[in-house]
Amino acid sequence: MLDNVLHAAILATTPILLAALGGLINRQAGIVNIGLEAMMLSGALAALIAAHVSGSWEVGLLAAAVAGLISAAPLSILVTRFGANEIVAGLGLNVLIAGLIGYLLSDFYGVSGTLRLMPVPTLPRIDLPFIAGVPVLGAILSGKDVLTWAAWILVPLTALLLTRTRIGLRLRACGSSPATANSVGLSVPNLRDGATLAAGALAGLGGAALSLGLVGLFSEGLTGGRGFIALAAFYFGRNRPWPTAFACILFGFFDAAQIRLQGGGLPPELVQVLPYAVVILALTLASWRRRRGPSPEP
């Protein structure tokens, strides 16, 4: 039972974690990215179509990253060059992309809502020979797809990027004090554009984790608000990679548990809110702790 929950939780966490890592880089550079949902959705669609046409999931992943990046571009330009409000622009992007995708689906594929393409190469799952049989550890490590591995490897890499590299420090300077960054000769708009495009690419891959990694089809509701869960995750993690990843896995775990708790006598409506309730509780605790204790950096 626990093994099943862990296995499912980790797979379900991947899309959220990828988007959240993108979002936190973006946030560190000073932009709150509300458009993650849209970037995930376009990545999910591009991944499915490209993988189907090319017959290769690698091409699908590439297309997902590119599609996420392209959909992030207008958001970034509006915010950094034209001074648009990031919340309004992000929400606008979500509406725009959802509408565009609806149009694409009906115009090119003659379907509304759901796109199934056959055959489509889904992400292979990597079974680890000896570890697979070990309880708990096997469930955590074995049978995961490449994006899941990539997402978790990116957690320490993102931490390193932000704290130990020149580009990371510059990004954070843009976020914490754009005027100072500007005065020492950094181009704040350029750095922020870079961060938003990176967020787009990562969120696009998160979308691919849904369409190619989990389900093997696309639907307009495929992301189902996961972009916003990612947003909550990096807020909870205060834009730091490890706490953000913890928030993601927390949600993934309770979501997987929720599915298995149904039928246990509790009303399903109550069980279903569990993962959201946990996230809200965690967010509240985090902000409470922040007010109380000395603030750790960064």
Binding site: N4, A8, A12, S106, G110, V111, S112, G113, T114, R116, L210, L214, V215, G216, L217, S219, E220, G221, L222, G224, D255, A256, I259, R260, Q262, G263, P267, P268, E269, Q272
Partner: protein, 341 residues
């Protein structure tokens, strides 16, 4: 003036010049959310609509709207004012609005699906989904212990996933459970609700959880969410049961059967009755097993996997329901039975 006696059907149309001048007015079909191309409910209804308008020669038009749920009142009023004699509305959310609008247009006939609405010019169309689901449950209960069939374990364990927890959905679920228990009183049926009709990833995870728990057949009553259930069945080498339309081809060999609702037949019937002048408002038309309004798919991909006596048993149960020997619980009318709380 004497009204000529009209027989429903195309032949009667040519004679209807005296009795029912309104029968010449065009007919409209309001498309529900999801839109045309959904390969499901809307498309199926549209097929029946086109076939019937072609056959009867009545002019038919399709009304689509980007925001169909919120614009219910405008759509219905505009349709009635544009001289449509019959407005068939596929959108479930328009039921209440229709009740309010219909009295203002006594010369227009309205048709609403999957619910009963009051009004002298409103025809309500219902389907006996519980009966079709009963057959699906019975078949699943027979198959779930037959390990000769690939992807089946020995446990008498099956599952069903509903879109939301509501009587409209539980009508399917209760029928399914009752049918399964008819075959095997000890069968374990896992029941879960996705709380969404549009999230296949959730459907996929829920089905996987049921497979882990020993199920090998999962019935999906969850629209787009259910596509994830079918996907999970294919990936795990188990079985899903489709709903509304024939979904057997979505994952050939991994959709055991589909519980089909013949929305096309219902819509065509209504249009033909209208064209023939025999459509009387204020009535409820029910489509059940008896008139092929609901039923199981042809199972073209899975039929060969099943022993012949299974299909014979399904036919037997079907006849029993039609004859009234077997009474399937309809939660909307009868309330919840003891075995499903």
């Amino acid at each position: 003036m004497l009204k000529p006696v009209l027989i429903a059907g195309a032949a009667a149309l040519a004679l209807s010049a005296t009795g029912a001048a309104f029968a010449q007015d065009p007919v409209a079909l309001v498309i529900a959310q999801g839109g045309l191309g959904d390969q499901s409910y809307n498309d199926l209804a549209h097929q029946g609509f086109m076939a019937a308008t072609e056959e009867t020669g009545v002019e038919g038009r399709v009304l689509e709207s980007r925001d169909v749920v919120a614009q219910g009142e405008q759509i219905l009023r505009r349709a009635a004012e544009s001289d449509f004699g019959l407005v068939v509305d596929l959108e479930y959310a328009h039921g209440e609005v229709m009740e309010a609008v219909a009295p203002d247009y006594p010369d227009t006939e309205f048709v609403v699906l999957n619910q009963v609405r009051e009004g002298d010019n409103i025809t309500s169309v219902l389907f006996s989904e519980h009966e079709g689901s009963y057959l699906a449950g019975a078949l699943a209960a027979m198959v779930t212990t037959n390990t000769d069939i690939p992807g089946i374990n020995e446990d008498a364990n099956i599952g069903v996933i509903g879109g939301t927890r509501s009587v409209g959905i539980d009508k399917f679920l209760v029928g399914f459970v009752q049918g399964a228990r008819e075959i095997n009183p000890d069968v374990q049926v896992q029941v879960a609700y996705a709380n969404t009709f549009g999230d296949p990833a959730t459907g996929q995870q829920m089905a996987e959880a049921m497979f882990e728990n020993g199920a090998d057949i999962v019935y999906q009553v969850a629209g787009g969410t259910g596509l994830g259930v079918i996907q999970a069945a294919e990936a795990a080498g188990h079985y899903a049961i489709g709903v509304d339309t024939d979904q057997d081809g979505l994952a050939p060999g991994h959709v055991l059967t589909s519980m089909i609702k013949r929305v096309d037949v219902a819509v065509a019937d209504v249009v033909e009755a209208y064209a023939g002048g025999s459509l009387e408002g204020g009535q409820v038309r029910n489509y059940s097993l008896a008139d092929n309004g609901v039923g199981l798919s042809e199972m073209i991909h899975t039929r060969d996997l099943l022993p012949a006596d299974y299909l014979a048993r399904i036919d037997e149960l079907r006849d029993g329901i039609i004859a009234g020997d077997i009474v399937v619980v309809n939660v909307i009318e009868d309330g919840y039975p003891d075995f499903f709380q």
